[in-house]
């Protein structure tokens, strides 16, 4: 069905690139590259030029560390959202937060999507999305506390668990008033999961797609890629793109990425192979 992300609507078959723009000094991949606001703003301009339909702005790194309270989180993202909103009216602005208080402030400033990476840790976030007619990304984390690492977590069936939790979250959001076209599910690779779990979710992503809810995947440079190939953070693009291709074949709609151009090419190529997208321009042998 049509995907409605705040002010913006997308057709049934559209796949979207969600470019990560972190407003943190210490996220695992960009390591503070966009901590200075002007650097972050440049990155937004850059990814928009590369074709990203969405930017995902986050104020707190996912890993454990110094506690960042709501006030500091807002200081990092709210004004920036307003600035991006004004400069890029056609851009979908997503904010990566689990807090309803932050969600409220960024929606006031013009955000279209609330990306809840921590699986509903603050149940009021869905109400905020509903009241601002914003979209919400519903993740599976196995119930872990925000910013904790998985420790000996096991599932009888990680895919069944991810589907159950994300669909329940999406249904709760719709019941709270979120537009049914505005709830997205995300298995959240590596969140509350080990490498085997993330691999299995990738392998069986078609089951998540079959629920009918649009699926977002966030694979970029993650540890399940690093552990599979024995490669450090800076060398995981190829592995990430391989996982991306598998998710694309399964029918994922939104891809949360550090590298827009490469991911867009992989997703388009896979969808063309699958017959869901026409080749851009075909004349060879057809003249």
């Amino acid at each position: 069905m049509t995907l409605k992300l705040g002010r913006h609507e997308f057709a049934d078959d559209a796949t979207l690139m969600m470019a990560i723009v972190n407003r943190t000094p210490d996220s695992f991949y960009d390591k503070g590259a966009t901590w200075a606001e002007d650097k972050a703003f440049e990155r937004v301009t850059h990814v928009v030029a590369q074709g990203a339909e969405i930017v995902d702005i986050g104020g707190i790194k996912a890993a454990p560390g110094v506690e960042i309270g709501a006030a500091e989180e807002k200081a990092r993202v709210v004004d920036f959202v307003a600035r991006v909103r004004e400069a890029h009216p056609g851009l979908v602005i997503s904010v990566d937060t689990w807090r309803a208080e932050v969600g409220q402030a960024v929606c006031e400033a013009g955000a279209d999507v609330l990306n809840d990476a921590w699986g509903g840790a603050d149940p009021e976030l869905a109400d905020v999305a509903a009241s601002y007619d914003a979209a919400i990304i519903c993740t599976h984390t196995g119930g872990v506390t925000p910013r904790t690492r998985p420790y000996r977590i096991e599932y009888d069936d990680v895919v069944a668990a991810a589907i159950a939790d994300t669909v329940a979250y999406a249904e709760r959001a719709v019941a709270a008033g979120v537009d049914p076209r505005s709830a997205v599910i995300d298995p959240a690779h590596d969140f509350g999961k080990n490498t085997f779990h993330s691999l299995e979710l990738t392998r069986r992503l078609d089951e998540m797609v079959a629920t009918g809810w649009p699926v977002l995947v966030s694979l970029s440079n993650k540890d399940f890629v690093g552990e599979s190939l024995d490669l450090p953070v800076g060398e995981r693009l190829t592995g990430t793109l391989a996982a991306t291709a598998v998710c694309a074949l399964a029918g994922a709609r939104i891809y949360r990425v550090h590298e827009v151009v490469e991911t867009r090419q992989v997703v388009d190529m896979v969808n063309t192979i699958a017959g869901r997208r026409l080749p851009a321009r075909a004349i060879r042998g057809l003249q």
Binding site: P64, G65, T148, R149, P150, Y151, R152, E154, N194, F196, E227, D230
Partner: protein, 168 residues
């Protein structure tokens, strides 16, 4: 010994990130003869059973319900210290972890049963340490000094592999 899931075959990779620990566990388990009782939570039990199978243990594994005080048997106690020893540890860094593990390690090496029975379980939970089986170990009788086969924290989690030969 610690209930490390990476020791299980279902979590095997091309290389073994816990090779040294595995060797120490296999060495320790291989000493056991006859009937074995496992003192562990559900995950720890699976690790112990896998290691017993790995050494080709011939003795029966006694379920807790079958154990009686007068039936001689060996024990495998599956436990570990805190998982909050470093910034990269699963539970991140808790400043209290080092002292907690140092003290617990000492009680184990000394076979101090009374101190094991009195472990601060609430603090252990906050430090992500698996200690309830050690409290049970403290109740089995005279432990005597323990022999350390392995004592390390390669992933920010305190692992010990130790053995005691008890008279009672």
């Amino acid at each position: 010994m610690p209930g490390v899931l990476a020791l299980l075959p279902e979590y095997a990779g091309l290389s073994d990130p816990v090779a040294d620990l595995r060797a120490a566990c296999v060495k320790a388990v291989a000493w056991l003869e006859g009937s074995v009782e496992i003192v562990a939570d559900a995950q720890g039990r699976r690790v112990a059973e896998h290691l017993l199978a790995a050494v080709g243990s011939s003795g029966p594994v006694i379920r807790p319900a079958e154990a009686t005080p007068d039936r001689a048997r060996d024990l495998i106690v599956v436990a570990n210290g805190s998982a909050t020893r470093t910034e990269k540890a699963p539970g991140h860094l808790d400043e209290r972890a080092a002292a907690f593990d140092e003290e617990l390690g000492r009680h184990l090496r000394e076979g101090d049963s009374e101190s094991l029975r009195a472990i601060d379980v609430a603090l252990a939970d906050e430090l992500w340490a698996t200690v309830r089986p050690l409290v049970e170990l403290g109740a089995v009788g005279d432990l005597g000094a323990g022999e350390t086969v392995y004592d390390d924290d390669p992933f920010g989690v305190q692992y010990w592999v130790m053995r005691w030969r008890c008279e009672s």
